[in-house]
C-alpha cells in the first residue's frame, strides 16, 4: 500500500501529470516551465514520525513485556533480550539492504539494491502517499517502515519461547528478514505511487498488482510471522514438560502492561499506515479502537461460558487478536463492521488457541500462530467484506488514472484476491521458514541442552536472573 519515488528523476513526469489533472488551471501553469518539487506537509510528516515511535514502542517494551510475562520466571530475560536484539538487528538490516529490497522497483517479487545503505536517500528526497501530489520526506517513510521490520521477526519468538539458543535465533532473524520479510513487503506494499502509476502501470509488487487490500500489514506482518512461528515450534519441538507439568505464566501483570502498550502503539501501526494525517487516518484510528474493544470483550464472554470465569489473560489475548484482525481492514472498514470483525476474530482465535492447539499437540508456547496467523487470516479475508462501500467501507482507489478515482467494488472477487494473497504468504513464508529453521537446527543447532532448558535460559544463555529477591 505504500510507495516511494525518486522524486528528482520523476519530477518531469509529475509536472506533466499535475498539468493534465487540472486543465482549468493549465493555461496559467503552462507559463511556469520548471515545476517545483512538492513540499511535504508538516502535519503528515509529524504524524508519520510519531507513528514510527509508537510502533517501536509496540516492540520494546510492549511485545517484550507481553511475551515476557507469559513465560516462566527463569526465561523472562531471554524473551526480553531476544525482542530487544531483534529490534536492533532489524533496524540495521533495514538500513543496509531491507529498505532497498522492499521499496525499490525491480521485479514483482523483490526490489533491487539501488538504495542499499540508503544510497541516494537524503533530507530532500520524498516518498509518495495515497494522494496525488502529497509527499512525505523519504527518511520518515524509511523509519516508519523500519519499525514494521523490527516487530515482525520479534513476533515469531513467542512460538518457541523457553527453548531456543540466542545467537542461532539471531542468525535466523537476519536471513528470514532478507528472504521472507522483504520480498513479501515488496509484493504487498511496493508501488510507484499515485502520481506515477498512470505512466508506469507495471511498477508495483505482485500482490499489489492483484489488488490485494492490506492496509497496515495483516499479511506482511501477522500471517507472515504467525506461520513462521508455527514452523519454528514444529522444527524445534515441544518444551520439556509440555502437557506433563504446569508451565504457567510468571507475571500476567507484565502481560497486561505489554498488551496495553500494544493497543496504544497500534494506532501508529494502523492509522500511521495512511502516511497522511487526514480523514482516512481517523477511520483507521477509530476502527483500531473499537475492533480491539469488541475482541477483548468477546474473549471474556466466551471464557465465561466455557470456563465459567473471565480471565485477564483471555481478555488481553482477545485484545491482541482484535488488533491483529483489524490491521489489514483498519483503513477500509467502518466502526460498526470493525466491531463485528474484532468479535469474530477473537472467537476464532479462542477456538484455535484452546481447542485446535490441544487437538494437534504442537507447542506454540505463546500462541503466535493461534493469534497472529489465524487472526491475520480472519482479518485479511474480512477486509474484503468490510471494505465494501455498500457496508460503509472505503472501497479501493484506481491509481492508474490521474487523479485517482474510486474503483468499482466487487466483494466476491475481492474475497478471492484476499484469499490468494493469504495463500501466497502462507506458502512462501511457511516453506522458506521451515527450510531455514531446519537448516540452522541441523548445522549449528537451535535448541539448548535439556539441563540448560530445565534450569532456564536466563542463567544459561545470558548469565543473569530476572528477579533477585
Amino acid at each position: 500500500m505504500n510507495a516511494t519515488c525518486k522524486i528528482r528523476e520523476k519530477l518531469a513526469a509529475l509536472g506533466l501529470a499535475v498539468f493534465l489533472a487540472a486543465p482549468a488551471w493549465a493555461q496559467d501553469a503552462a507559463a511556469a516551465a520548471v515545476p517545483t518539487p512538492p513540499t511535504p506537509d508538516k502535519g503528515d510528516t509529524a504524524w508519520v514520525l510519531l507513528s514510527a515511535v509508537l510502533v517501536l514502542m509496540m516492540s520494546v517494551p510492549g511485545l517484550a513485556l507481553f511475551y515476557g510475562g507469559l513465560v516462566r520466571a527463569k526465561n523472562m530475560l531471554s524473551v526480553l533480550m531476544q525482542v530487544l536484539t531483534i529490534v536492533a538487528i532489524a533496524s540495521l538490516v533495514w538500513v543496509g539492504w531491507g529498505y532497498s529490497l522492499s521499496f525499490t522497483g525491480g521485479s514483482p517479487y523483490i526490489g533491487g539494491l539501488s538504495k542499499a545503505f540508503l544510497s541516494g536517500v537524503d533530507a530532500t528526497t520524498l516518498a509518495a502517499t495515497f494522494s496525488n501530489g502529497v509527499y512525505i520526506p523519504e527518511y520518515a517513510y524509511v523509519v516508519f517502515q523500519m519499525t514494521f521490520a523490527c516487530i515482525t521477526p520479534a513476533l515469531i519468538v513467542g512460538a518457541f519461547a523457553e527453548r531456543i539458543r540466542f545467537w542461532p535465533l539471531m542468525l535466523f532473524v537476519t536471513i528470514w528478514l532478507t528472504i521472507v520479510y522483504f520480498p513479501i513487503a515488496h509484493m504487498v506494499w511496493y508501488w510507484a505511487g499515485p502520481d506515477f502509476l498512470p505512466t508506469q502501470p507495471g511498477d508495483h509488487g505482485l500482490l499489489y498488482g492483484w489488488g490485494a487490500l492490506d492496509f497496515a500489514g495483516g499479511t506482511v506482518v501477522h500471517i507472515n510471522a504467525g506461520i513462521a512461528g508455527l514452523m519454528g515450534c514444529l522444527v524445534i519441538g515441544k518444551r520439556i514438560g509440555y502437557k506433563s507439568e504446569p508451565l504457567p505464566p510468571h507475571s500476567l501483570t507484565m502481560t497486561m502492561i505489554g498488551a496495553s502498550l500494544l493497543w496504544v502503539g497500534w494506532f501508529g501501526f494502523n492509522a500511521g499506515s495512511n502516511l497522511e494525517a487526514n480523514g482516512v487516518t481517523t477511520v483507521a484510528f477509530i476502527n483500531t479502537f473499537v475492533a480491539t474493544a469488541a475482541a477483548a470483550l468477546a474473549w471474556a464472554f466466551i471464557e465465561q461460558i466455557v470456563h465459567k470465569k473471565p480471565s485477564l489473560l483471555g481478555a488481553a489475548t482477545g485484545a491482541v487478536a482484535g488488533l491483529v484482525a483489524i490491521t489489514p481492514a483498519s483503513g477500509f472498514g467502518a466502526p460498526v463492521t470493525s466491531i463485528a470483525l474484532g468479535a469474530v476474530a477473537s472467537l476464532v482465535c479462542f477456538f484455535f488457541v484452546s481447542t485446535v492447539k490441544n487437538r494437534f499437540g504442537y507447542d506454540d508456547s505463546l500462541d503466535v500462530f493461534g493469534v497472529h496467523c489465524v487472526g491475520g487470516i480472519v482479518g485479511a479475508l474480512a477486509t474484503a467484506i468490510v471494505a465494501d462501500p455498500a457496508l460503509g467501507g472505503q472501497g479501493w482507489f484506481d491509481y492508474t488514472v490521474m487523479p485517482a478515482v474510486p474503483g468499482t467494488y466487487d466483494m466476491g472477487a475481492q474475497l478471492v484476491t484476499q484469499a490468494q494473497a493469504v495463500g501466497i504468504t502462507l506458502l512462501w513464508s511457511g516453506t522458506v521458514s521451515a527450510i531455514l529453521f531446519f537448516a540452522i537446527d541441523k548445522t549449528i543447532g537451535l535448541r539448548p541442552g535439556s539441563d540448560a532448558e530445565r534450569e532456564g535460559l536466563d542463567i544459561n544463555e545470558h548469565g543473569e536472573r530476572a528477579y533477585n529477591y
Binding site: P246, L247, P248, P249, S311, G314, S354, T355, D367
Partner: protein
C-alpha cells in the same frame, strides 16, 4: 512451655494475629507455606491450558506460650481462623524443652 503451630488460610492472618494480641500473646513467627490436605488444590486455566495445582498456599504461625495459656490460644485460633469450609487448616501443640532470649541470655519462661 508449649510450641503451637497453626496452619491457616492466608487471608485469616490479620484477624488471628489481632485476636491473639488481644488475649496477651507477645509474639509469633509467620511463614508462607504450601501444602495440601483434604482440600485438594485449585484449577488454573491459561488460554485453555488447565493446571491443577495440588499445593495450596497457607500461612504457618509458630508461637511458644506457657502451658496454662495453651487452651485459650487454641480456642482463639480455632474460632477466628474458622470459615467452616474445607481447607481451614490445622493446629499442633508440641513440648518445648528450653527457650533463650538472645539479647539478655534469659532462659525458660523469662525468655518468652
Amino acid at each position: 512451655m508449649k510450641l503451637i503451630i497453626a496452619v491457616i488460610k492466608p487471608f485469616k492472618l490479620e484477624e488471628v494475629r489481632d485476636a491473639l494480641s488481644a488475649i496477651g500473646v507477645q509474639g509469633m513467627t509467620v511463614s508462607d507455606v504450601r501444602g495440601f490436605g483434604r482440600q485438594k488444590g485449585q484449577t488454573e486455566i491459561y488460554r485453555g491450558a488447565e493446571y491443577t495445582t495440588n499445593m495450596v498456599p497457607k500461612v504457618r504461625l509458630e508461637l511458644v506460650v506457657e502451658e496454662g495459656f495453651v487452651p485459650q490460644v487454641i480456642e482463639t485460633v480455632q474460632q477466628v481462623a474458622r470459615t467452616g469450609k474445607i481447607g481451614d487448616g490445622k493446629l499442633f501443640v508440641l513440648d518445648v524443652h528450653e527457650a533463650v532470649r538472645i539479647r539478655t541470655g534469659e532462659t525458660g519462661r523469662d525468655a518468652l
